[in-house]
Assembly symmetry: C2
């Protein structure tokens, strides 16, 4: 059996309570006793048992990280490693651990979250996505359990602490950028509208068009479903219209790459014939041909700040609800050209 607090206590000639206090570095224990106990802990290679400590202290020092279900965005792309890195960095510096959801379906994830909070498996939860109407989020909100979202919640925006990019604004800026280059026919290839990030970007695109005196047209919008199932013909149809777009905004760099390939098959060149901008600025976007103009969304920050917020809530249940938009930057490369 592993060495316990009792073994240490006996060996150090103190009580278990004292050993416990030394572990917690309580100020009520003399330096001398601490030294003695620590020496024994070292010698016996004592390590506190987490389960016992958590049970007694009613805290787990771990946070639950919930991924969107596997068929969705989060998994395919480089977003995930980078948020995780942000989360780990913050968690580690506060001596918290990370428990990852494993469920593949929405229902499995919901069940996992319920058992995490009811079973006190974690002290708080980070939702790595934000969807239109999400049972898991609603449960969390109603439970009063500390949680934080990476992504603006669709409802209850001022009751939930979250971190996000200002997606409406950056989509707006992207359109403005294209306008400033002289584009007037601007299409949008969107993501899954079930996710708030996608609908926000679409909304920003729409507003920008209107404010620029251009009008929004369904003919210039390809949604996620359509693109996934028949991307090639969708792009084909888009470009074969009477007045084809001269610029395309893509929801994500991965989508942009795919579009570029389809355009090539149609002998349409980027940026000569059509410009393209997208979001997320993947590591590869600089290497691809043409190097992609894309909005960097500070993924690391998103994870890092979401964790900081959560940890605040955990340590102070009275903490007020807050939210923060992480800064972004349009990285100009070579996929857009100026219309003369």
């Amino acid at each position: 059996m592993a060495v316990t607090i009792i073994d240490v206590a006996r060996e150090a000639n103190v009580s278990p309570s004292t050993v416990s206090r030394v572990i917690a570095d309580s100020p009520r224990i003399s330096e001398q006793t601490k030294r003695k106990v620590r020496e024994v802990m070292e010698r016996l290679a004592y390590h506190p048992n987490f389960q016992a400590r958590n049970l007694a202290a009613k805290s787990t020092k771990t946070i639950g990280v919930i991924m969107a279900h596997s068929t969705s965005l989060a998994f395919q792309n480089p977003f995930f490693p980078e948020v995780i890195r942000g989360i780990c960095t913050s968690a580690h510096s506060s001596h918290y651990g990370i428990y990852l959801s494993t469920g593949g379906t929405e229902e499995e994830i919901y069940q996992e979250v319920v058992s995490m909070v009811q079973g006190r498996k974690v002290d708080g939860i980070i939702l790595l996505y934000s969807r239109m109407s999400d049972r898991t989020m609603n449960y969390l909100k109603d439970s009063g359990f500390p949680f934080t979202m990476v992504g603006r919640p669709y409802q209850y925006e001022d009751e939930i602490t979250y971190i996000d990019n200002d997606n409406k604004k950056i989509a707006h800026e992207v359109v403005d950028y294209l306008c400033s280059l002289g584009h007037e026919q601007i299409a949008f290839v969107g993501g899954n509208l079930d996710y708030v990030v996608s609908s926000d970007r679409l909304e920003g695109y729409r507003q920008a068009l209107i404010e620029a005196g251009l009008s929004y047209s369904d003919a210039y919008f390809i949604h996620d479903d359509g693109f996934k199932s028949k991307g090639k013909s969708a792009i084909h149809d888009l470009m074969k219209q009477e007045i084809p777009p001269t610029a395309i905004v893509a929801h994500d760099d991965l989508v942009a790459y795919e579009i570029i390939r389809y355009l090539e098959e149609l002998s349409i060149q980027v940026p000569k014939d059509v410009s393209i901008v997208s979001f997320n600025n993947h590591a590869l976007s600089a290497y691809v041909k043409p190097p992609l103009t894309s909005v960097d969304i500070s993924i690391f920050e998103l994870g890092f700040e979401a964790t900081n917020f959560l940890l605040e809530m955990v340590s102070n249940p009275e903490a007020e609800v807050k939210s923060h938009f992480v800064s972004t930057a349009l990285i100009e490369r070579e996929s857009c050209r100026r219309m003369k």
Copy 2:
């Protein structure tokens, strides 16, 4: 306070022991009692407390997943989400959870692993990497704690259960492929040789050259360090030799993309002037220009099988050491050409 087993027992007019047995679905409890107790659990929305259960049962039903430290390969690229997906799939179906390492440095990771095993935080551990000489691995091996590696261990190969691709073999095959296209000057841009995956691939490349009657030359090898710090000039030097290579094997698709860009700057075209093959077959490799010929390494399987192996070891400590090479496939696209 949350509802406990005691509340359920009282409400159902049975003893706590009985409730506990119903939770475990013990065959020694009558169906009738089970029904009654379950009805009460449902009604009171009872959820077992993990910490208490784990402490009493001496098992955590969670596995620790240890990532390589952040500055290394694992994080940058799409490998990570995909192994995790494999791990989650296996773990979830066995009702295991996942605890992720958060440490950034080698030392932090080592400390985490020690406290995970000594503190009984997890039932088993998966190491997501394999390095030349790794304190963490040595500790795990000596501790007798169940663990599994994604990657062939450098030492103690027949004492450690692991999953990997047959990296020597696939590198060999890639060279054979290039030879079959008529190439005789084949260069290699490798990964960090501290990782076994990189040294295995280099070794396979070397052997294949020798077996093909070509000779290995340092002038055709660029290692990780050199490529990271001055990739551009390294590629420049490589191609400006008296007899430049007609083909390049790259350690990873991301590296291949970068090489292609440097070649372009030198006005060297792929595959017209030089062919390129790489490993890992990222999602993007089909979209890039030129579409990349790459070896698919079944990342999902790697994670999935590593977890299956681990779970076997956890449930049966007498299980014998095993290892398995997950199958791979050379995906031919358009980055290689036949020499006439």
